[in-house]
Symmetry: C2
Subunit: 369 residues, 2 copies
């Protein structure tokens, strides 16, 4: 099974859908807003394009998907009013893998355009063009030199595939027995294999974007990171613990767990910088890190929720992201049990360990030729 076919958020608008369970991602996007503003204003003022062409890579499908486009329109609108310029037109490409639920995004476009007309008036009428660009961002998505700005939030920590050195089938050196990603009990070889896969993938990502972005164009990338490369600190280690529990109870075959490695790597700031420098097409203008407790975004939205309610939300949010790829390997029928266990124990685990999302935000400029 190819990663591209199973790596997507839960579609639709049902109770387990990503559309209804993506407040973590929304919180992160809103925290990165000021940096988005900076990037867009600097870019726009330097280039003054008649039509600003942007792409959101790993857009997924839900209320967050169009929020980035809306935010960019707001920033451009303010800037043009301040400078007394006529606003440019905007072409926005929403990208995700072909299995993403694009229908749900497209059906929401008429009301998005209506709101735009209502809020911004006639100047924007027929000047905002939104298209879907399905495909892997570890490959070319657009023609040469056709984008001014690329945005991506919480996407590039997903690798093109798990490192091929892992797994029992190849009989290779490294094995990540009992874990589904880099975890505290992973061997050094495992870190190494994941890190190498990340380096290859991120370099390819940069090379493809370098071809697609005009000289002087920008990227703003937010990704999940870590403090040290052998520092798990991700939700997925905890999912792995629950899967182990189910193996020990005979609910999942041991071999099934051993042969599963998540295509996921949370890089450190040093690792990210190293790849950007080695690849050489972009200048890293700014790199910032901010941490968030696993349940901080829930407390922030509603400070009255008790532990049980917070745990239920975390479990639903992580299910919306992880279910398609986990179910494709372990089967749909164990999902309820898995996420029930997750919900029961997640807050206890958080209290015993310092569980945080480490977010890395990078602002990059394509070098002039």
């Amino acid at each position: 099974m190819k990663v591209e076919q199973v790596l997507h958020m839960n579609g639709g608008v049902g109770k387990d859908s990503y559309a209804n369970n993506s407040s973590l991602q929304r919180t992160v996007i809103s925290m990165v807003k000021p940096k988005l503003g900076e990037s867009i204003v600097e870019l726009y003022c330097a280039m003054l394009p008649e039509c600003l062409k942007i792409a959101d890579l790993g857009c997924s499908a839900g209320p967050n998907t169009l929020s980035v486009v809306a935010e960019i329109i707001d920033i451009i609108d303010e800037t043009c009013q301040r400078l007394k310029y006529a606003p440019p037109s905007l072409q926005a490409f929403l990208n995700d893998l072909p299995g993403n639920d694009f229908n749900i995004i497209f059906k929401s476009l008429p009301s998005f355009y209506e709101r735009l007309d209502r809020e911004k008036g006639n100047e924007y009428l027929g000047k905002c063009f939104i298209a879907g660009a399905p495909g892997s961002f570890y490959g070319r998505l657009f023609p040469d030199n056709c984008l001014h700005f690329v945005h991506s939030s919480y996407a590039i920590m997903w690798l093109s595939k798990a490192p091929k050195e892992l797994g029992t089938e190849t009989g290779a050196a490294a094995s990540n027995k009992g874990n589904i990603c880099v975890a505290k009990t992973s061997l050094p070889d495992v870190y190494e294999a994941y890190l190498e896969q990340f380096k290859r993938d991120f370099a390819l990502f940069l090379r493809c974007r370098a071809d697609e972005i005009v000289p002087g164009g920008r990227m703003l990338l937010t990704t999940m990171g870590s403090i040290r490369s052998d520092d798990p600190l991700t939700m997925w280690e905890f999912v792995g613990l629950k899967l182990n529990e189910m193996v020990s109870e005979g609910l999942i075959e041991e071999e099934k767990l051993e042969s599963f490695d998540l295509p996921y790597y949370a890089a450190t700031t040093e690792e990210v910088k190293e790849v950007i420098e080695a690849e050489g097409s972009f200048t890293l203008q700014r790199l910032e890190v901010f941490n968030m407790d696993w349940d901080a975004y829930i407390k922030q939205a509603d400070s009255n929720l008790d532990k049980t309610a917070r745990a239920a939300i975390i479990a639903k949010d992580i299910r919306a992201v992880g279910e398609p790829i986990l179910a494709s390997h372990f089967g749909e029928d164990i999902m309820d049990d898995l996420f029930h266990r997750f919900k029961e124990d997640v807050l206890e685990y958080m209290e015993a360990h310092k569980c945080q999302y480490i977010n890395i935000v990078m602002s990059l400029t394509k070098k002039e030729n």
Copy 2:
């Protein structure tokens, strides 16, 4: 209910889906192939763009959707081999209303790209970019001057809405009692109202495309037409007869039928020419008409099918196109009955009347400024 929300083909891949019942449209596309070839070769040789940017308007979702892009790649490939040029990259925008099933198209892209690599080799690797551009083509879909070629097959006979002069609610002059589109029993006012709506819509279509297409760029439009403007000769008149039958049997309320007018108009060649000339942005290079008996494409595909089998195919094909808009007005529960009646009687009707699809093919060039 807005037309844009209910005017789309049956989605998915089920037995009533457009994807599985669109051989009529495929036949028409294949008959227009030589004209597509002419247009693309003339365009490419005149412009030699590094990246050929095209759009297919009203692409729908099914095996036909990507066949036009594949055909264009074949034509360009042959031309470049003949001229010993390196092939250009290609950006293709697939357009339909936001209710179209884009997911099904996007999921088929990986195998489309794989076949392209297999058949054309490395030169095309990472040079073909397919995007979805949802929206009504009676409005702007793309930024200024960004397309070289626009293709549309069997789409522009669908109007932006039924003429507002019709219907009982407005109490306007014209009424199209008992019919769902221009039919033999329609009053002259009805022809007039539909014709006016077509003229407004087609002029708007041309104006929008004129902004989007580069000077010298091309369009190839295939649409359902008619011999005279009061000549029904369309499948929809027959659907209307069956609905009338159901009214007379008390299965549909008379008022329900009276308040329904299909946003559909099959123009004559004179009407089409008049709008193109009046709008003024395009030169009509060629206009051709070809007729096909309603079941010709079925006989052509399999000459052994008897009448019952042919009628069943016609009924399924027309259901795949008409069900969403008919069901939104008359209710899902009468659809089986309606298309059963259709299937029972369609061949008899064809023998009594000369039932043909009149297809108009137009090749247009955007005037140089």
